[in-house]
């Protein structure tokens, strides 16, 4: 029994009796135990996983109704709440925080008999591209542990790439699912804004972020999306449109489809030569699949990183102000403080990147500066949206490399925030415009993964997964050495 099986194979294995949930979970936990000192994908492990697996096996044996995941291990980014367990956001501010409720996605997975195997590492409050800003130490890229796994959902990507989990849920505010998916050679989807409930996702920049499924195969991601998508009364921003079965017809192909190559993301000085070369291979693969390819220019893209950091810091400044250590938090004696000085003292426990964004977030929406920064950013966002919408009148898909650079070494960019922010240039557009985007692992070059990003129009996840599936079948990713 291999841990490297797809979600679909796992379900078939359970159904034909070749594996049991308990065996699989036990083997997974052993593997996690061995790998964690090296990979550090997890911040906490589900202590009841074996018992839960036994219960599910019992249900299977006695012929009771069993949920769609049949005890499959799924890891959850540690900014998504699971009742009764710790949810830390990889921050010292929440190091002891226990959520009193389940996120909607979590209750959905629980009710479908998934085993939530553990909570995965991230950049503190999901701010970063490398997990280097986790207060509890970084996760490591399983393809080469000297390299970052990407972020902020780095732990989720590592857990899937490192065979510690079959599937994972991350969150994507500016590429936080797609970036680590690309760096770790797995599939990561950022759904349409409003497709997946954010209830229980701890907000960083609430107007653009989404929870996203991650897996080793496109069809696995489609399966996971099937069970998390849809209207949720607890999240008024979820869309009311009915959701299709994302798995059925995933193999219809993309013959005759029109694909636009986003010029501003696929060329220029910032694009690594290796990434460019892999991307060219993907382009010809698309052509061989019968798609028509053409370059398209979206000139607003050049302003997206600036826009993204203005908008997200303004929202983060507000979203994170509740962490004042008054109602929950960590031990800090209040003796001798009045509440304002106590709050500032308590908030010094935020790490450097969060602090940096808090300071920016206090500034950009402030009186006298809002017009220059926040309101201008909102204007760019609207223009970009119009540009994307007009591009989708002509194209079915828009593609680019997921990240313009290869995975980098630890410490390489940590002291250069601007260089780090530029790694987001290809991913933030999907967040700013609300459209779905997926990263497909395409090649391993010199031991480092490179991914390809496909965008589709609002709520076109089914078509997006079909394109991802078609592309996936044009390449062979070598097996990982752990």
């Amino acid at each position: 029994m291999s841990l490297a099986i797809s979600a679909i194979d796992y379900i078939n294995g359970i159904k034909n009796g070749s594996i049991t949930a308990e065996e699989f979970i036990a083997k997974t936990l052993d593997h996690i135990k061995k790998q964690e000192p090296k990979l550090h994908a997890f911040l906490s492990i589900n202590e009841d996983a074996i018992e839960q697996a036994r219960q599910i096996d019992k249900k299977i044996k006695s012929g009771q109704k069993v949920g769609a995941f049949y005890g499959m291990p799924i890891s959850i980014k540690d900014n998504i709440c699971i009742k009764g367990g710790k949810t830390t956001c990889a921050s010292k501010m929440l190091q002891n925080y226990t959520s009193p409720y389940d996120a909607t996605v979590v209750s959905n997975l629980k009710s479908q008999d998934a085993i939530l195997i553990g909570k995965t590492n991230l950049d503190e409050f999901a701010m970063g591209v490398a997990t280097e800003f986790s207060a509890f130490g970084p996760s490591r890229n399983p393809w080469n542990v000297d390299y970052v796994p990407g972020g902020s959902s780095g732990g989720s990507a590592v857990s899937v790439a490192g065979l510690e989990s079959i599937l994972s849920l991350g969150s994507d505010t500016g590429g936080s699912v797609r970036n680590p998916a690309s760096f770790c050679s797995i599939v990561g989807l950022k759904p349409t804004y409003g497709l997946v409930s954010r209830y229980g996702l701890i907000s960083y920049s609430n107007s653009i972020e989404q929870i996203g499924p991650m897996g080793r195969k496109v069809e696995d991601v489609a399966l996971l999306l099937n069970h998390i998508a849809g209207k949720d009364p607890y999240d008024p921003t979820t869309l009311t449109s009915p959701t299709p079965d994302y798995l059925s017809g995933i193999d219809v192909g993309i013959s005759g489809k029109k694909i636009g190559i986003i010029k501003e993301m696929s060329s220029g000085a910032g694009l690594d030569k290796t990434v460019e070369s892999v991307f060219r291979n993907a382009m010809s693969a698309f052509e061989k699949l019968g798609a028509k390819i053409e370059e398209v220019s979206l000139d607003m893209v050049q302003y997206t990183v600036a826009t993204y950091y203005v908008l997200t810091t303004a929202e983060a400044g507000s979203n994170l102000s509740r962490y004042d250590n008054l109602r929950y938090g960590y031990e800090l004696d209040s003796e001798g403080y009045e509440f304002k000085s106590y709050i500032s003292k308590a908030r010094r426990n935020f790490g450097p990147e969060v602090t940096r964004r808090m300071i920016l977030g206090g500034f950009v929406p402030s009186a006298g500066f809002a017009g220059k920064y926040l309101l201008k950013a909102l204007k760019v966002k609207n223009k970009l949206k119009k540009q994307i919408q007009s591009a989708f009148t002509k194209f079915d898909y828009l593609i680019s490399p997921t990240v313009p650079v290869l995975p980098f070494r630890f410490g390489e960019k940590i002291d250069d925030p601007l260089a780090m922010y530029l790694a987001d240039i290809n991913t933030v557009t999907a967040n700013l415009t609300g459209v779905p985007a997926i990263s497909i692992p395409y090649e391993i070059r010199n031991g480092l993964p490179v991914g390809v990003q496909i965008h589709a129009n609002i709520l076109q996840e089914k078509q997006l997964l079909q394109a991802g599936y078609a592309l996936q079948n044009t390449t062979e990713i070598p097996e990982i050495n752990l």
Partner: protein
């Protein structure tokens, strides 16, 4: 010039503005009317209470405001321990009219008071200072109130004097009660701050005013203070001052809190609410009849005198009683009974809550009066008993022997007694027939109000011979 900012809780709603905890937080032990959402726990999202939008819009319509095409919510960011998220979800018209209402007007004794805007927002929790002083070392926070629906009404600086302010607040309070959106008599349900300036001078905001009575005093104090500074050529500073409840003066608050930059941003977790005509029209239809329309109807339809109609229409408790108790023929008598006899018995919130009176009592009583079974003054006594016990009118009348005495022979005996006791008054009545009312009064006294006044007068006149 005086302008007001009034905060009014929508106390008649079932749940809080963004979760299903109770809007009526007053009955709970501290921190028991809370949930992850109103406590702002990480990951929670606000779910807008649609009823609150409906009720707040009714207030806007009653104050003749424009309603926007779409409603938006904004975050007002500031740190305070009573604010679980350290921002308050409120509304803002800086980027176009997206609050519940704007540009309204109300007429107060012929003076038009313009309403700048009305917004819907969440109330924070409550800070409780041990020993009731802000100087205490221990401050307790009760979040039961956090997230309850609040409507802020901002007027233009259109008031000329504190008296107009008081009348306006009474009108507003009656209006809110009549709309059945709020009970302003509940403690803390209606709060007001004032902006005061003299002769185009700088604007001074007066906060922390506990009651409307004090508001009038505070404005008066502030006007006098600013006037006397001006007379002495001393500059008036634009500032926020707090009302000192004990010393009855305003004090400069000098706190930095007042220059705070709230860094307003759009609340992206609440989608825009499209205010379509259909919804607005259906809410308009649901709105209770306005006070002025009721008054007009009472006067023209039933011939109720202006002053009685005024009292009856402006107090929802009375007008509800009236509406349920009256029909074509007894309306005037019901109105009289309420505004003369009942009023003193149910003039406070506590008395109303304890009262056992139902509308049927009033109509039954008026029937008894009209059919000559009880006198007006017996009816008054009966009301006291009804409010206390809730017993039926018939029961009270028979058990306490309030049945009117209209039997001539029985009355004749009593009148004979009075005539023999009051020879001086009898003599006077003979000389000046007007004074016979004194003797009628004596008979009423003797019969505890049960004597039929008309028959009494007739017999008296016969016996005295006038």
């Amino acid at each position: 010039m005086i302008g007001l900012e009034i905060h009014c809780q929508l106390t008649k709603l079932e749940s809080k503005l963004f979760c299903t905890c109770k809007a009526n937080y007053r009955e709970f032990e501290p921190n028991t009317n809370i949930c992850p959402t109103c406590m702002g726990m990480p990951g929670t999202l606000p779910r807008l209470n649609k009823k609150a939008v409906e009720k707040a819009t009714m207030i806007a319509m009653a104050l003749n405001c424009h309603t926007p095409e779409r409603l938006g919510f904004f975050r007002k960011n500031y740190f305070y321990p009573d604010l679980p998220k350290n921002f308050q979800i409120t509304q803002l018209n800086m980027y176009g009219p997206t609050s519940i209402g704007d540009q309204g007007k109300v007429s107060v004794e012929g003076k038009e008071i313009r309403i700048r805007r009305i917004q819907l927002e969440e109330d924070p929790g409550r800070l409780i200072y041990e020993g009731a002083s802000e100087k205490t070392a221990i401050t307790l926070v009760d979040y039961n109130r956090a997230g309850t629906p609040l409507v802020e009404i901002v007027t233009e600086p259109d008031f000329d004097n504190p008296r107009q302010v008081r009348i306006f607040l009474n009108v507003l309070s009656d209006l809110l009660q009549n709309l059945d959106v709020s009970d302003p008599t509940l403690e803390g349900a209606m709060r007001a701050d004032a902006n005061v300036s003299v002769q185009d001078g700088p604007r001074v905001e007066v906060k922390n005013i506990g009651s409307f009575h004090d508001l009038e005093k505070a404005i008066h104090f502030e006007l006098t203070r600013q006037q006397s500074l001006k007379e002495r050529g001393i500059e008036i500073t634009q500032e926020t001052r707090h009302w000192d409840d004990k010393r009855k003066i305003t004090i400069s608050s000098r706190s930095k809190e007042e220059d705070e930059d709230y860094r307003y941003i759009l609340e992206g977790d609440i989608p825009w609410v499209i205010m379509d005509d259909h919804a607005i029209q259906s809410w308009k239809k649901k709105m209770p009849e306005s006070i002025s329309s009721k008054k007009e109807r009472y006067i023209t339809k039933y011939g109720i005198p202006l002053q009685v109609a005024d009292v009856l229409s402006s107090d929802k408790y009375y007008s509800d009683l009236f509406e349920q108790a009256h029909h074509e023929t007894n309306a005037k008598e019901i109105a009289n009974l309420i505004t003369t006899d009942l009023m003193g018995l149910v003039d406070t919130r506590e008395k109303r809550e304890q009262s056992k009176l139902i509308p049927k009592h009033l109509s039954d009583l008026v029937d008894m009066i009209n059919s000559g079974k009880v006198t007006r003054s017996s009816a008054k006594n009966a009301l006291v008993e009804i409010v206390k016990s809730g017993k039926s009118v018939a029961e009270i009348i028979s058990s306490t022997g309030m049945t009117k005495i209209s039997d001539s022979s029985e009355l004749g005996k009593i009148i004979d007694e009075i005539i023999s006791q009051e020879s001086a008054a009898v003599q006077q009545a003979k000389e000046n027939p007007q004074t016979i009312n004194y003797l009628v009064g004596k008979v009423m006294q003797k019969t505890k109000g049960k004597a039929d006044p008309a028959i009494t007068l007739k017999i008296l006149k016969e016996k005295i011979g006038i």
